[in-house]
């Protein structure tokens, strides 16, 4: 019986092939749009998050107690040796870096600005995040004598400096004295992390320690893990072990980014609902017309002993075929499109100024998540199911002889 049911359902779709194809194309195009938007928007959000994680916070950052509210050099992480030994042998940890950080002032012959001074080890940073990848001009080093500085590209614009330009960095040292150091710009970075691009001056760790008169301790330890799901566990363990430190996740340090992710999920949900409505309306229209056109045929089937539930199955199978073919086609095209943009990226350089303002990359690499397809499948299945309920109601209300005499 299942073979006959399937055959009747399939043959009915083939008999009205133009209409059936229209619905299939409508579902496929809707899904393609859904996949594209989800993949690209998620790609944008994840890139912003990645930029923040790689260039600054890591998945977890450790600070001295009270440092976040009052970033004074005295509020530093002292247990560096113990942390080193713990993090170095933890299999969840990909890498970690230690940074000295102090607010200061950078000056050129013509301009001056308040900045965040980072004392870093370029070799460790290179291994840790992608700070080197963000280099847009110059080199990722501080020169042989360690007198170089790498600065954010927006800061470079504002100071009107370029590679080789002289700057003077001044800050309050750990004794409360003002200290200054002349430096040369060796590199300019563009991280799309606005806080860094506008304010950061990276200098050699040794130079920073000398400038700030600080021979031990660090301001921040940033840790990158293999997997996001490991973050909460490690954070908890570190909190227990180092109760006097502030140990924060990336989303606690950058709540706006987390909000962007949540907002994007909401946006994607709304998009999914719209797609669901389009698919449901398409299938509903076709199935309603199909049932009304075939009332006589169904009337005959009822007359010769087919139960209503068996006719319902035929109609469900028909709409399932439409939904499944539309889903498969849409997923194939959508998946291929996302794969293309995952590999090659979507280049929106023409809007790069606007993207810079929001701390976004001009080239967005799409993300492909199995969840997109599962969600689309559920939406299409639901649309398929709901769209035949009214046509079935019309049929259920008809007596066989009324249905036969409809035409």
């Amino acid at each position: 019986m299942f073979r006959l049911t399937s055959k009747i359902a399939w043959a009915s779709l083939v008999r009205r092939r133009t209409r059936s194809m229209l619905v299939v194309v409508m579902i496929a195009v809707s899904l393609w749009g859904l996949y594209f938007m989800e993949g690209i928007y998620d790609g944008m959000t994840e890139q912003m998050i990645n930029n923040a994680i790689c260039s600054d916070s890591g998945h977890i950052s450790l600070f001295g107690e009270g440092y976040r509210l009052d970033p004074d050099l005295s509020r530093r992480v002292e247990d560096v040796a113990l942390l080193d030994s713990l993090l170095a042998r933890d299999s969840r940890v990909v890498s970690y870096v230690k940074r000295l950080k102090q607010d200061g002032l950078v000056a050129t012959a013509h301009y001056s600005r308040g900045v965040a001074i980072f004392g870093i080890d370029p070799a460790a940073e290179e291994k840790h995040g992608r700070l080197k990848d963000y280099l847009s001009q110059g080199e990722f080093s501080f020169g042989k004598k360690g007198r170089g500085a790498i600065i954010g590209f927006k800061l470079a614009d504002k100071l009107q400096v370029r590679i080789g330009s002289k700057i003077v960095l001044s800050a309050q040292d750990s004794h409360g004295e003002v200290s200054a150091a002349p430096l040369k710009v060796t590199g300019i970075i563009k991280t799309n992390n606005m806080a860094l691009d506008e304010n950061a001056v990276f200098i050699a760790d040794k130079k920073a320690r000398k400038l700030l008169a600080m021979d031990k301790g660090v301001s921040q330890v940033a840790v990158i893990l293999h997997n996001e799901v490991q973050i909460a566990g490690l954070q908890e363990e570190l909190r227990l072990q180092f109760p006097h430190l502030e140990i924060l996740r990336w989303d606690e340090l950058y709540p706006a980014l987390m909000q962007s992710r949540v907002m994007m999920e909401g946006f994607n949900l709304v998009t999914s609902l719209l797609i669901f409505c389009v698919a449901a309306l398409g299938i509903f229209g076709v199935m309603l017309v199909s049932v009304l056109e075939r009332l006589r045929e169904f009337g005959i089937m009822l007359a010769i002993g087919t139960r209503f539930s068996q006719i319902r199955n035929i109609i469900f199978v028909e709409s399932f075929f439409l939904g499944f073919i539309g889903f498969s086609l849409g997923s194939l095209i959508g998946g291929a499109t996302l794969y293309y943009f995952k590999v090659n990226g979507l280049d929106l350089s023409m809007f790069s100024d606007a993207f810079d303002e929001f701390g976004m990359d001009a080239v967005t690499y799409a993300i492909i998540r199995p969840g997109y397809f599962v969600k689309a499948l559920i939406a299409v299945a639901l649309a398929t199911f709901l769209s035949v309920l009214i046509p079935l109601r019309v049929l259920k209300k008809s007596k066989p002889i009324e249905a036969i005499n409809k035409v």
Partner: protein, 230 residues
Amino acid sequence: MENFLEIRQINKTFHPGTEVQVVALRNVNLDIERGGFVVLSGPSGSGKTTLLNIIGGLDDATSGEVVLDGRRLTGMSERALSETRRDHIGFVFQAYNLIPVLTARENIEYVMKLQGRSQQECDERILEVTQKLGIDTLLGKLPNQLSGGQQQRVAVARAVAATPKLILADEPTANLDSKTAESLMDMMQRLNEEEGVTIIFSSHDPLVIGKAKHSIVLKDGKVIANERLS
């Protein structure tokens, strides 16, 4: 002889209580014996089709009752009616009414599949019935590839193959030429005799009417003649 079908005080009014109210059947009482070959005749609008529909459970009577082989059809649930039609009644319609997307074989097989018969049973029965009706070479064709007469034979085969106790045929020869009509009636007569199926059909055609063993004439919804001919 044993009554196979009892029709008691059947009335049918379409659109009751409205300006377009039509009284289709008035106090119809009939007894049909098992194995009967019965013709319902009468002018257009006399209530033949309405009576066939009520006997087959395709439509409800306004009042009265139909008892088929001891089973009261009046008031039955849709599901029970559906099963009664599937297992006990075969229909042959004036316009053939085959399922257009199924081949002749699949159309014949359809009701047997609904009955839950095995493929082997279906194959054997299809061969037997289609050989009798002379359509065993047409089984792979779709309805639109068959002539009117061939389609009507497939429709008869569909009705017969499921071994019903009763076949209801509403003007089965109306769309056929006289030669094909006579041949079809001969086949139905043979099925009636060989398979013992009770057949009730409606017709205007004197040639067809002349083959019946029991003639019922309707006029304006009333039975005006009820005669056993042999």
